[in-house]
């Protein structure tokens, strides 16, 4: 079955990103196709490579990047939400005249249309948030 996942909160502050990760992993293990993980609201903060969590804690962003690499997952960060919160890739850096970018490996920035498309294409969309 085709599944899509929506993540509405940032890493560490709320459990949403953890729950979404475990759900996505379990879905992949059962052979389902996860067509997209969309990061909206504060969820965009999952996509920064600048985090350094304590050594004895999980690394939420790296975990998503790894999962994306192994399963060819499409991790999409909403551009409008990302601009408000300072998550930037090379394109956005150039377009908005910023002097740095912070997007993590495996994440891409795109429009809200990608969320709607996921809703249309997927058999189920499961949302995690506050």
């Amino acid at each position: 079955m085709k599944l899509a996942v929506l993540v509405n909160e940032g890493p560490y502050t709320h459990q949403a990103s953890d729950s979404a990760f475990h759900f996505t992993t379990a879905a992949l293990e059962q052979g389902h196709e996860v067509i997209r993980v969309f990061f909206y609201h504060d969820g965009v903060n999952n996509g920064t490579r600048l985090t350094t969590p304590p050594q004895d804690d999980r690394h939420i962003t790296d975990r998503w990047s790894d999962l994306a690499r192994r399963h060819d997952l499409d991790l999409v960060v909403c551009v409008a939400a990302a601009q408000r919160r300072g998550v930037v890739d090379e394109d956005e850096q150039r377009r908005n005249g910023k002097d740095a970018n912070n997007i993590a490996e495996g994440f891409r920035i795109s429009g809200l249309g990608q969320l709607i498309e996921a809703g249309i294409q997927a058999d189920r969309m499961v949302a995690f948030g506050d």
Binding site: L3, Q15, A16, S19, F23, A26, D123, V126
Partner: protein, 100 residues
């Protein structure tokens, strides 16, 4: 339909609204701080028991364990599921809604 509730009913109104607006035959899954809603001794227990008459109520085991709640403390009839069963619930039910 699968209804997912992730907030404690002692703090927020999500579970109350989910119970008001879910239909007979639907499944309700309590995750994250939502698992506190399944405590047998809690103020919300009566509402959950009423819902069990025509709906299924599940709690996510890993979240229950994290919060130190012994399965013996849950309302009778509430089922404990793991992430694999969470996925199965989402797949078996025709639609999914998270009461965020």
């Amino acid at each position: 339909m699968l209804h997912i509730v992730n907030k404690s009913p002692f703090e927020k109104n999500s579970l109350e609204t989910c119970l008001r607006l879910s239909s007979a035959g639907s499944s309700i899954l309590l995750i994250e701080d939502g698992v506190y809603g399944a405590l047998a001794g809690g103020e919300m227990a009566g509402t959950i028991r009423d819902a069990l008459a025509d709906r299924t109520v599940c709690v996510l085991g890993p979240d229950l364990l994290a919060r130190g709640i012994d399965p013996g403390r849950l309302i009778d009839g509430v089922e404990i599921v793991d992430y694999a069963a969470f996925v199965k619930l989402a797949v078996e039910q025709p639609k999914v809604q998270s009461w965020l």
